[in-house]
C-alpha cells in the first residue's frame, strides 16, 4: 500500500535575507515578508536570537507575539556543533554535549522541533570529524527530553551516496533513535551543467544526487531546505529538479516543513524578495496550496 500523501508546510529561512541582516531590518520585517508570500513556518539561525544564547524573557515574548500575529509557526532552528571553538584544542565530549544541550533548550523554549545541525567537519565534502558519534550519542537523551530532532545536513557538495550518509544511517539504526535524522538541502540535487550566470555562484563540477538516492533515505529525512540560487521568470530553478523532488516527498508522506533558502549571493534586497516570491509560486504550484 502506498503511504498517504504528505502535506508539507511552506516556510522561509532567514538565511535568505542575509544581505539585509546585518543592516537595519527588524525581526518583524521578516515575519511580515513571510506572511506576505503565504509562508506558514519560519527557520531562524541561532544567531538570529537576540543576545544569543541568553535571550531576555521580553524577547521570547516578542517572538511568540510575532508568531501569533502573522500566523507563522517555528519550523527550523539552525545551529552549529563547533568542536573547533578554540584554536589550540578540540572541545571535550562533555563540552560538546553541553553546547548542544544549550541549543536544544533554546530551540525548545522558542517552539522548534527540527534542528539544522552542522557537525564539525574537516573536509570540503562535509565528512563529520572522527569521533562525532561520541558527543551526538551522549546528547540523544537530551534531544528526547527537549523534543527536538538533530538534523545533520546533506548539502552540496555532499551527495546522498557519500559514505558518511550511510554512516549516519547506521548510527540511527544502531541507537534506534527518533531524534537524529537528515536536514535535506536540495542543493544536493543540482545539475552543475545547468548553473548559469544568474545563479550568482561559481561553476561547480560536483555530482548530483538522484531520485533513487532520495527514495533510499526518505525515512530519515526530517526537515527540508528548499535551496535555490536563481528562480527564472517561468518560476523554475534551472539547476535543481524541483519538478520531481517535491512530488517524491509528498507522495511518500513527507509532512514537515519545506523551507525556502535563497543562496544566490545577490546583495539586492528587492531582487531577493522577488526571488523568494517566485520560489513560493513554484512551491504553491507543486503542492497545490
Amino acid at each position: 500500500m502506498s503511504p498517504a500523501k504528505g502535506t508539507p508546510k511552506r516556510g522561509v529561512s532567514l538565511f535568505s535575507y542575509q544581505c539585509m541582516k546585518n543592516c537595519s531590518a527588524t525581526l518583524e520585517d521578516y515575519f511580515e515578508d513571510l506572511a506576505d508570500m503565504g509562508a506558514t513556518c519560519i527557520e531562524i539561525l541561532a544567531s538570529d536570537v537576540e543576545n544569543y544564547p541568553n535571550p531576555s524573557t521580553a524577547w521570547v515574548d516578542k517572538w511568540f507575539g510575532l508568531c501569533e500575529k502573522y500566523g507563522i509557526t517555528p519550523g527550523g532552528y539552525g545551529h552549529w556543533c563547533d568542536t573547533k571553538l578554540y584554536g589550540h584544542r578540540r572541545l571535550t565530549t562533555d563540552e560538546a554535549v553541553a553546547n548542544l544541550v544549550r541549543d536544544f533548550k533554546l530551540a525548545n523554549l522558542l517552539g522548534f522541533h527540527r534542528l539544522r545541525t552542522k557537525i564539525t567537519t574537516e573536509t570540503r565534502n562535509n565528512d563529520p570529524e572522527p569521533g562525532w558519534e561520541k558527543y551526538i550519542e551522549k546528547a540523544l537523551p537530551f534531544a528526547e527530553k527537549y523534543d527536538v530532532v538533530i538534523g545533520s545536513e546533506i548539502h552540496d557538495p555532499t551527495v546522498i551516496s557519500t559514505p558518511h550518509v550511510a554512516e549516519y544511517i547506521k548510527f540511527i539504526e544502531r541507537t534506534g533513535t527518533e531524534h537524529f535524522g537528515f536536514t535535506l538541502d536540495f542543493s544536493t540535487f543540482q545539475d552543475p551543467a545547468k548553473i548559469n550566470a544568474a545563479h550568482f555562484r561559481p561553476p561547480v563540477d560536483d555530482p548530483a544526487s538522484t531520485r533513487e538516492d532520495l527514495l533510499g533515505i526518505l525515512p530519515y529525512v526530517r526537515h527540508c531546505h528548499a535551496k535555490f540560487y536563481f528562480m527564472s521568470e517561468d518560476f523554475t530553478e534551472p539547476a535543481i529538479p524541483y519538478e520531481w523532488i517535491v512530488p517524491t516527498l509528498v507522495d511518500n508522506g513527507y509532512s514537515d516543513c519545506i523551507i525556502s533558502e535563497y543562496q544566490g549571493g545577490s546583495k539586492d534586497d528587492a531582487f531577493i524578495m522577488d526571488q523568494l516570491r517566485r520560489h513560493h509560486v513554484m512551491l504553491k504550484r507543486l503542492l497545490g496550496y
Binding site: 538565511f15 542575509q18 541582516k21 546585518n22 543592516c23 537595519s24 539561525l45 541561532a46 544567531s47 537576540e50 543576545n51 544569543y52 544564547p53 552549529w80 556543533c81 563547533d82 568542536t83 573547533k84 571553538l85 578554540y86 584554536g87 589550540h88 552542522k118 557537525i119 564539525t120 567537519t121 574537516e122 573536509t123 570540503r124 562535509n126
Partner: protein
Amino acid sequence: MVEKEIVQARGFRNTRDAKGNVDGFQFRIKTGYYKGIWLSQFRVGDAKVDGETIAREDVIWEINGIEYTPDEMLLIGDTYWQVATPATVKIRRPGGLEQGYHTVGVSFGWYCNYQAPERCHPQLGTNWAGYYWERELLLV
C-alpha cells in the same frame, strides 16, 4: 542603524583618557558575515591608518562594551558577537588624528566548524569577501 559597508562611518573619532587628553582614535567595523561568531573564532591581523601599519598587538577590540586584546579573545568561547553589532577598533596614539579625511582599515577573518583547512588563511581563517577592509572617513 548599521551601515552596509564593513567599515562604519559612524564611530570614527579621537579617544580621550581619564584626564581628558586625546590618547588615540577609534573606528567601527562589522564582519559582514551571515551569522554571529563566538569571540574565540575571531581572528585579527594588523590595522592601518593613512598607509601606516599598526601591529595587531597594539589594537584593542571593544565588543558589546568590553575591551579585549586579540589574544584574549582566542580563549573566550562563551561570548557571542552578533552580526548587527559593530565592534570598535581602538588604537593608542597620543594626540590622535587631525580633523579631515583619513583612510583607516584592519584585517580580520574567522574559523567555523564547517570550514576545511585548505579553504582557510593560516592566521585569519575565512572571510569569503576578503581579509583587509578599509575606508576613507571624515574626522569631525
